[in-house]
């Protein structure tokens, strides 16, 4: 295996870990906002339909995510609200923000 291939593998593993960390951070933030530490929350979970989020909880979730993942910086609710349909769609939005911030 070439050194280049090893680097690629290492990068992918790092990216997978980062993605898992982000999902975990969002899931924890969701549980904290709905005040249910053992709630069943996955990337398929719909914030409003499955978890009962309303506008206040959406705003609180933005705040908790900013606190949990400081490298995201200050988020814009008007920009992100359309992505706040499911945990997975929110994670995808945040991952995109992190990638752009790293460039």
């Amino acid at each position: 295996m070439s050194a280049h291939a090893d680097d690629t593998h290492a990068d992918n593993t790092h990216a997978d870990n980062q993605s898992g960390d982000l999902i975990s951070a969002v899931v924890q933030a969701v549980r904290r906002v709905i005040d249910d530490p053992v709630a069943e929350v996955g990337t398929d979970s719909l914030l409003r339909e499955d978890l009962g989020f309303d506008s206040v909880l959406i705003m609180q979730l933005k705040y908790r995510v900013e606190q949990a993942v400081p490298e995201l910086g200050e988020l814009s609710l008007p920009d992100m609200v359309d992505s706040m349909t499911s945990v997975g769609s929110l994670v995808a939005y945040l991952r995109d923000r992190l990638v752009k911030a790293a460039v």
């Binding site: 719909l46 409003r48 978890l51 009962g52 206040v56 705003m59 609180q60 933005k62 705040y63 008007p78």
Partner: protein, 272 residues
Amino acid sequence: MAAPTAGAPVLVSGPEGQWDEVLRPLAARGTVVTYGRVADWLPEETEERVLRPLLGPRDWGRFQRLSHRRVREGFLASRLLLKHTAARVLASSPESVDLAYKPGGRPYLRGCDQIDISLSHTEEVMVVGVTRRGLLGVDVERAERPMVGTGVEFQACTPHERELLESLPERTRNSALVRLWTLKEAYSKAIGQGLRFRFTEFGFTLDDARIRLQRPDGSPGTGPEWSFGTYALESDYVVSAALRDEGFGAAADTAADTTLDQSLLGVLLGRL
């Protein structure tokens, strides 16, 4: 002269409720806000043959996708209150009221451009607003819902509002924030933007005599055509209403871009 306010919400305890009390303020002011308890409005029969004609195909589909019990109940009960209220206003039947949604989610009555509607619900209480005067937004929250310390004050308040909150005794701070929140929600719903509005870019005074919208620097944010009101419901809930008075009859153009001060709208939507 100050624009007329939406008026205090009128309790409707079910489909066979006190509709004369609803039609009277509507006839007098052109606007009425109704409220009901979710438990009073949940139908006994929830089969598709009963609910689908009442909700219409779009909301029936949305209702079926709701897995959270409280959300399901609030969704169903609030649509029934809205449809029954609109049916009384239009002298029609709830099944014939065509509730539709604009991009962004603002509800409207298809085929009834002269009527504007708004709805809001919590776990137990829902509120419906109907006006012939122009634009209307309503919002309801539990008066004791915890907001202080949850990040809401940083996410939703102007610096001036945060100073106002900090100057209040601790025991009244949360209820003041709940009231500010409902005003912001009501206004953003009236404009049809919801959370797409930058809540930190507009604030409210809390003078009971006349609530005013302000820019962050304290200057007026809207003209005299807007009126805002907050009301206590049975001491447990707070309702706010934002009404833009276009006078009697339909507004010629109620798109947000043409009904707001253009520079303020740009800031609120992040265009500037």
